[in-house]
Amino acid sequence: MTELIAFLEPDQAVIGRRPAIIADLARLLPESCLISDARELMPFDTDAFVSYRRMPLAVVLPETTAQVAAVLKYCNDNAIPVVPRGAGTSLSGGAIPQEDAVVIGVSRMNRILEVDYPNRAARVQAGVTNISISQAVDADGFFYAPDPSSQLACTIGGNIGMNSGGAHCLKYGVTTNNLMGVRMVMFDGSIVDIGGKALDSAGYDLLGLICGSEGQLGIVTEATVRLIAKPEGARPVLFGFESSVAAGACVTDIIGAGIIPVAIEFMDKPAIEICEAFAHAGYPMDVEALLIVEVEGSDAEMDAMLERIIAIARTHGVKTIRESQSATEAALIWKGRKSAFGATGRIADYICMDGTVPLGQLSYVLGKTSEIVARYGLRVANVFHAGDGNMHPLILFDANDPEESLKAEMAGNDILKLCVDAGGCLTGEHGVGIEKRDLMRHQYSDADLAQQMRVRAAFDPKWILNPSKVFPLDGRNGGQEGHQSALADAERMAAGTAAAGRTAA
């Protein structure tokens, strides 16, 4: 099959040393933490961006930070690429390995280490699933806010790598706004603690830099995250419109009127049909577009807010308004939305785009998206976070048809360029991965990318960490100085100040 996206050429010398490398890894961590059998490696050959697959050299699933550090140091010393992995739910190929790489998966580091209500913080290992944090503190009236659709499976480590968002980040922000600290293993195996339970940290904002760095700056093994008091109640309301344009304009007016609900989700007709067939959420079938608007608080608060939202919706000719009357009904409404990707996967193969556009451009970009996809003779379903302009067109295709697969990818690229040209960006919450890597120059100049790569090189001088991702494969020599100064530091520390380098308490 033709592949649009290239990987780095695997280093045959590394592949040739495979038996020795596996033997070395076996000395670094318990047998149960090492996977080298070809059949057992297969589940790790891709993530949720399933069009691309590569078998890794080996997979390790460490149980401690020290084991992660030992493996990373070994790989750096021997110039073996490393691909960090959470649950493998990346939609952009962020966790797809390569033939000469060792996958370091954090899924076995899945304990909640500390819950601290007075300071509203939880300290967890990186392999903890997103939802399990909220579940652990639910009975005490708290939750962890970012809620990606994959929250049942995805790990907090992966969330940090991709700066994950979710439906409710309109009010509560994305991962970077809810992350307070990390313990991270650096390229040379040294362990650093950044941030903690204080609201802000000293020096340069390394935490902000690490969040969304797609496993290229180090491997996070622990995180301290913000807990928030649960609202008294939450009420999603369905609004059905005669057209996508009317729904889009309604979103702009709600925000423009100074009302920030917890979430505003958008679904077009194809998405409504797909989700309803799967979840039986009771979505109206006689409308062209649907908004799920969620408000929260006490009944009086929700009534007051909804009254204003409904008044705005009426000015856009809203056809159906349905308030959830019970927690069960509310859960059902969300089930439909959150299963959108899974439900789509039942009827066709799809790729999901993630461009974000300024709110005023929503209707324009929606219209153009339909035109682009139609031009390639394909279908599209739109289901996305409208309140913050984060679009998710799902391009449907048949993966068994190589030509159609290629068309889907090309349509996706055209849509992302459209988002950038409309003043937006390539990816709002899924990350660049391999998927959007070659489009980076559409958004950034060479000077912009060179600056990012120089920073990257300060963390990973040999470019061993997730090397095929994020930055276009050509023109990567911008970070030479970074390589040298990082290597010099590493050598200095290795030469006797190793203890000083390990700042972990």
């Binding site: 509203r120 920073v455 994020v470």
Partner: protein, 404 residues
């Protein structure tokens, strides 16, 4: 200190040209916005200064998109006036350092983001860095670089925006900033609880933050500072909670919070206007604006550790204190010496955080590390990052640490 020569670029190209020349000549520069915070940080040793004062003006503002873009030298007052005209605001409530430092001049939006300057609402709405969506800057080699953009969610490449926020002009010269704005709350009230000691107040604040009432500011003003707020507070220790939002919602939440807090002490409710004055004074550290020769520290710790820090310090030295951010932001005014080692030792012992010497004379700031010294591995990392932005070390040398 005052630089011999001040340069006033009017365009981004001017900035790039000037920096390129200085880079080539190996001449360091002090980077300035409105100059209201030049007294914060280590004194910069540079023969020339680059002022962004003439690189000014709002470049893009569509209120319905909740985003504004402005050149770095735009006065904060101009930004706030434009936002107020559309019933919007900067949600992170930037502090005005002029009263505390006794500085003149006009704060700029670039300066606000370069220092990651936030106020009381940081507790609930995030810091300046959380509102900053995009930047254009000139790095230390004179290259124009952009990062981020004008959309709310963006994970396209490394987030250099966060790095630039709070870098105090040491990584790049900010030329344009793009930031999120939010609707002004329809109304606000403050619930004032009187008579609690610091430990009881910490407990009350944690309890309020655990309730579903969306507190947007939680501060404790011990008796030693309460009288500095004039008629707003009675001269006794007062713990204050701000609630903001739609009027019917605020009413319901205020009732609920009052009912809980009554069990802890005497409660009164301050209306929107008084509430506005009170939080502005807390934001600008009014209690410590009266004796400007005394050193002032800004300490950031876990909210529950703030009062423990102060209790420990009081046994050893003369210190006055009050708390914002649920107790996690401690403002300390020292009677005499800065006592940097003592404070930093206790911060570490209490679970970590950091202390910044916000006010002290230039000689002291040259000697005592103004910003919290970093552990060796992080210090080395910071240095490598600095080298990647400013290889010649010409941007604000010495501002953050003596050797960087």
């Amino acid at each position: 200190m005052s630089a011999a020569e001040i340069l006033y670029p009017e365009t981004e190209d001017d900035v790039a040209r000037i920096v390129k020349e200085h880079h080539a000549a190996g001449q360091p520069m002090e980077i300035r916005g409105g100059g209201t915070r030049t007294g914060l940080g280590r004194p910069v040793q540079a023969a020339s200064a680059l002022s962004l004062a003439k690189l000014a003006g709002i470049t893009n503002y569509d209120p319905s998109e909740l985003v504004m873009a402005a050149r770095a030298g735009t006065p904060l007052s101009e930004i706030e006036a434009a936002l107020a005209a559309n019933n919007q605001m900067l949600t992170f409530e930037p502090m005005d350092h002029r009263p505390l430092l006794g500085a003149d001049g006009e704060p700029t939006i670039g300066g606000v983001f370069a220092g990651n300057i936030s106020g009381p609402r940081r507790l609930s709405a995030g810091a300046a860095r959380d509102s900053l969506l995009g930047v254009r800057f000139v790095n230390g080699s004179g290259a124009v670089v952009k990062s981020g953009g004008r959309v709310m969610k963006n994970v396209t490449g490394l987030d250099l925006v966060k790095l630039l926020a709070g870098s105090w002009g040491t990584l790049g010269v900010l030329c344009e900033v793009i930031f999120k704005v939010l609707p002004r709350p329809e109304t606000a009230v403050t619930i004032a609880l009187s008579g609690l000691n610091d430990a009881e107040a910490a407990e009350a604040m944690a309890a309020a933050m655990a309730m579903s009432v969306e507190v947007s500011g939680a501060a404790h003003l011990p008796v030693s500072v309460a009288y500095r707020f004039g008629d707003i507070l009675k001269s006794e220790a007062t713990t204050v909670f701000r609630l903001e939002g739609l009027a019917p919602s605020v009413e319901v939440r205020a009732e609920r919070l009052v009912a809980d807090m009554r069990r802890r002490g005497e409660v009164s409710v301050l209306d929107a206007q008084v509430s506005g004055e009170l939080w502005r004074d807390i934001r600008d550290v009014k209690p410590f604006t009266f004796h400007r020769t005394k050193p002032v520290w800004r300490v950031s710790v876990a909210p529950g550790a703030g009062h423990q820090l102060v209790a420990a310090l009081r046994l050893q030295t003369g210190v006055d204190a009050f708390y914002d951010w649920q107790g996690g932001l401690v403002w300390l005014q020292m009677e005499a010496e800065p006592e940097a080692d003592l404070i930093r030792r206790y911060v570490k012992a209490l679970g970590g955080g950091h202390a910044t010497l916000v006010r002290a004379d230039a000689a002291t700031r040259a000697e005592v590390p103004v910003f919290e010294p970093q552990p060796p591995a992080l210090d080395a990392l910071a240095r490598r990052i600095k080298d990647q932005f400013d290889p010649g070390g010409i941007l604000n040398p010495g501002r953050m640490t003596a050797t960087m």
